[in-house]
Amino acid sequence: MAFQIIINLIVGFLWMFLSESYTMPSFITGFIFGILLLFVLRRFIPGEFYFKKVLNILKLTLVFIKEVIVSNIDMLKYIYSPKKIAEPGIFSLPLDVKSNWEITILATLISLTPGTLSVAVSENNETLFIHAMNIEDVNESIRSIKDTFEKLIMEVTR
């Protein structure tokens, strides 16, 4: 991956020098051409096409922003509804992600999603304890977290 980024930077600089305009826009043009070049030659260059990872990071960011907005609107419903909160409680989520870094991102994402707040991580890093405003179905909420966030995080880090 580092190899591909270096190739891409070299292509960007080459473009800048060949077009004889030493400005940021021409470097960016060259950089984009470098990405295209790497995409065309991805079968012959060792390692996976690195821009795919960048796209995955972008996707994770977009999902994050979407979840923040949805959870805020969800929160408004709880705050202004006259009823009591139906079923608050703490449930446990078995983790598939292993490293500290991944667990941190996952806990952050869970805290900002509708109705859930991460409370603690178990000592062996295998379970995450989550407080939820309204647990209708534990398995359903576990499945939705696993399908969306954990999958996206694993796509970025692995």
Binding site: V68, I69, Y80, I135
Partner: protein, 125 residues
């Protein structure tokens, strides 16, 4: 100033006012939530989530205002939004963990507290 410039000015001002108002509304809702909810964990839900978007809205409004009225691109405001989004969940996590360690029981209806069970299992071993 021509007619169309005036119109553009008014529309931009309306957008700025709208973002700031949304931000203030969300912060206000967070306050209401903190007063209304029964225990510390649900209160934290309100404090983290609603205030994130609230502060983001206010800062975005300030950014637009500075850019359009004074022509200043203030990167600090955008960075502040990013850092709020990173630090808010972390502080909520730490506060709720500390509360649980102190032994504050969450309000629970029809459900077990998984973390409590885990802790009792750890101490019994």
């Amino acid at each position: 100033m021509t007619e169309s410039e005036m119109l553009l000015h008014i529309i931009v001002n309306i957008i700025i006012i709208f973002t700031v108002l949304i931000g203030v509304f969300f912060v206000f809702s967070a306050t209401v939530g903190i007063i209304r909810f029964p225990d510390i964990y649900t209160k934290l839900h309100a404090a983290t989530k609603a205030s994130t978007l609230g502060l983001a809205g206010i800062l975005l409004g300030a950014f637009l205002f500075l850019y359009i009225q004074h022509g200043i691109v203030s990167g600090k405001l955008l960075l502040a939004i990013l850092f709020i989004m990173i630090t808010n969940p972390v502080s909520a996590h730490m506060i709720s963990r500390a509360a649980h360690a102190k032994g504050i029981k969450p309000v629970i209806r029809n459900r077990e507290d998984d973390f409590e069970q885990y802790k009792t299992k750890l101490t019994s071993e």
